[in-house]
């Protein structure tokens, strides 16, 4: 077994991309839109970030460009939905394949070459706090950004007016419209912001957690992130717990590589059956949430609620 501290540092560090993607998708889905393209978007944004940072020497610029590409992918989905009345899921699925293969096609020259890093950002005083310090404040800016996004997103969704508007559109666009909100505009903006953050997640893969580029570099992580969003019950904090738990699985798989052959390939797939069980759980708790005898705190944790109007097109008058 590893000592506690280095393991936590590694989990927090390795989970940075997943945290960002999960937060981006949570914001998107809160507005009632499903961005199914994550698997493809991650690949193309990871490539963008790495290629730009290799070419310009600036990982920061690569990071920003990945956000831009992520938002363009999201924009395609939401415009096809709101302007052309196309199915969000269908467009997201097509983009998954298109962008994924595009990354293989365009990425040939960047396979396994070195590139510039984000420097370690040791925040003076804070990094010396026992346990917490090295985990959170002796990391690079990407990692620090990723875990700062968790409370910020939670605050945005739950406590700000804008966040409430996004939630209202996801729950009931018609009544939101009656209150003078333009649901189409809200969905476009929320999906694009979500896309930017998902793009940052892609960048966090190629510039940090799985440094560099190879074909199918972020393979399957996109689907895993979609699963974790549901595991998180559309709540950024619960989603983050899901993402970090997945990080723990990965570390265990890595450590056990020498012990059990084959486990390394099988363990990363564990979130999927886990996701199914969680969905069953959520459903059970929601059905009986008024009569349940379970402690409130458990209910609060498992009782995630899907936005009422998720995946449905807006009704136009």
């Amino acid at each position: 077994m590893l000592p506690f501290e280095p393991s936590v540092v590694t989990v927090i560090s390795l989970s940075a991309p997943i945290i960002l993607v999960v937060i981006g998708e949570t914001i998107t889905e809160k507005s009632g839109v499903i961005n199914l393209s994550i698997e493809g978007t991650l690949l193309i944004t990871a490539l963008t970030a790495f290629a730009v940072s290799v070419t310009t020497g600036s990982p920061f610029l690569g990071f920003l460009c990945a956000g831009l590409v992520g938002s363009i992918a999201a924009l395609v989905i939401i415009l096809c939905d709101t302007k052309l009345g196309m199915d969000q899921i269908a467009v997201g699925f097509i983009l998954t394949i298109f962008l994924g293969k595009l990354s293989s096609f365009l990425g040939k020259e960047y396979v396994r070459i070195p590139g510039p890093y984000f420097q370690q950002l040791s925040i003076p005083i804070l990094k010396d706090i026992p346990y917490i310090g090295p985990s959170f404040f002796d990391q690079n800016i990407l990692v620090i950004f990723s875990f700062l996004m968790i409370p910020l997103t939670w605050y945005f969704i739950e406590k700000t007016r804008l966040g409430l508007i996004v939630k209202a559109v996801g729950e009931n666009p018609v009544s939101a419209e009656n209150r003078g909100i333009n649901p189409e505009k809200v969905r476009i903006i929320a999906t694009m912001i979500g896309g930017i953050i998902i793009g940052f997640g892609g960048a966090a893969f190629s510039l940090h957690a799985k440094f560099g580029w190879s074909e199918n570099h972020t393979g399957n992580y996109g689907w895993i992130c979609l699963a974790i969003v549901i595991f998180g019950g559309w709540n950024p904090i619960r989603a983050a717990i899901g993402a970090y738990s997945f990080g723990v699985f990965q570390i265990i798989a890595l450590k056990m590589q020498s012990v059990a052959l084959g486990l390394t390939q099988v363990l990363p797939l564990i979130p999927f059956p886990l996701m199914i069980l969680t969905l069953i759980f959520i459903q059970r708790f929601n059905r009986s949430d008024r009569t349940t005898s379970l402690p409130k705190i458990l209910n609060a944790f498992f009782g995630g609620q899907s936005p009422e109007n998720i995946g449905k097109p807006l009704e136009k008058n």
Binding site: I89, I97, L102, W223, L279
Partner: protein, 352 residues
């Protein structure tokens, strides 16, 4: 009436033109020539008899997966788990081939039975999760797919590993008796082709003449039916998933025992996902689906030539296919179709 048909045909031609234009633009943007790419692909797909057989071997699983999806899509179900059902079918076939039955002449037929049942069960499980536990079929299906992939990797590296050394390149080749019998020196897979023909006829009969099928089709014709939270009765969901899973399982059996003659980690070859693209574009109709599948299979089979002849990465094929489907859906969206119709009307009025 003939006027109306003429109008529909004109709209169709304009749509095909616009969608091809969109896909060609993508090819040009990626630095290749659409003409060279397409001619190279078709040379690779149909240039020689062996190539036609190879194209056929790719056509088999994709067409089966697409037919399976017609059934599930008709019920408004997003069966993304189709890859998992293919995987389970392949596991079922391999199970038989690796067992004592593998060396009996009955092996292919037992494989069919076991593979189809396992694919069907995997589909049914997805339906059960949806009906009993309200787990949306996209996530249930994906979850079950990854469970299936995990099982394949476990089996290949564990119980069914190659003699001597476990490797992700797959299991040992199945005994000859477990291969499906083929015709002539070209190894034409006669039995699978026969089975597919029977399935096509059954599906057409089922959708056009049976009471159950008509009910199914009625849901399918409803434009809102692909909206993912569409209501369907639970018995109907089970039935659609069971039939779909069975046909997908058959695709898995063919992948293992007709194409590879062994179990490999990526046994489904992404064909389930490609079939989703096919069915999205073909609008769930059987004949257009088959024609489009033939086109897709030719592209994939001929795509191996791209690297050799034009030095282009083979991923270009999926890029082209997905962009064709994307642009096709765009030109079929209500506002764009309306614009094309209006344009045609105006053109005709102007000419008189």
């Amino acid at each position: 009436m003939s006027n109306l048909n003429l109008k529909n045909i004109s709209i169709f031609i304009i749509q095909v033109f616009l969608a091809s234009l969109g896909a060609s633009l993508i090819i040009i943007l990626l630095g290749a020539s659409p003409y060279e790419v397409i001619s190279s692909i078709f040379h690779g797909a149909f240039g020689r008899p062996e190539k036609i057989v190879k194209t056929m071997l790719i056509f088999l699983p994709i067409s089966l997966a697409a037919l399976a999806l017609i059934i599930t899509f008709s019920g408004g179900l997003w069966n993304i788990g189709i890859e998992g059902q293919i995987v389970l079918g392949a596991i079922g076939a391999s199970w038989v081939a690796k067992s004592f039955l593998g060396e009996s002449a009955l092996s292919p037929y037992i494989q069919l039975f076991v593979g189809v049942s396992m694919g069907s069960a995997w589909g049914l499980l997805c339906g059960l999760l949806k009906v009993k536990f309200n787990v949306h079929e996209i996530f249930g299906g994906l979850g079950l797919y990854f469970v299936g992939s995990g099982a394949i990797i476990y089996l290949i590296l564990g119980p069914w590993s190659k003699e001597g050394i476990a490797s992700t390149s797959g299991t040992d080749i199945f005994p000859q008796e477990s291969w499906f019998p083929t015709l002539t020196s070209l190894n034409i897979p006669a039995l699978p082709i026969l089975i597919i023909c029977l399935i096509i006829i059954s599906i057409i009969l089922f959708l056009s003449f049976s009471k159950l099928g008509l009910k199914l089709k009625a849901t399918g014709i409803n434009p809102g039916s692909t909206n993912k939270f569409q209501f369907s009765s639970s018995g109907y969901i089970y039935l659609a998933f069971m039939i779909g899973g069975a046909i997908a399982g058959l695709a898995g059996v063919f992948q293992a025992s007709v194409f590879y003659h062994k179990l490999v980690p990526s046994i489904s070859g992404g064909y389930g996902f490609l079939a989703i693209l096919v069915v999205l574009a073909s609008g769930k109709r059987v004949i257009p689906t088959l024609l489009l599948t033939l086109f897709f299979s030719a592209m994939i089979s001929g795509g191996s030539q791209l690297q050799l002849r034009l030095n282009l990465h083979s991923s270009l094929i999926s890029i082209i296919l997905s962009s064709i489907v994307f642009f096709w859906l765009v030109v079929n969206s209500t506002p764009i179709k309306k614009n094309i119709t209006n344009l045609l009307e105006r053109g005709r009025n102007a000419s008189f």
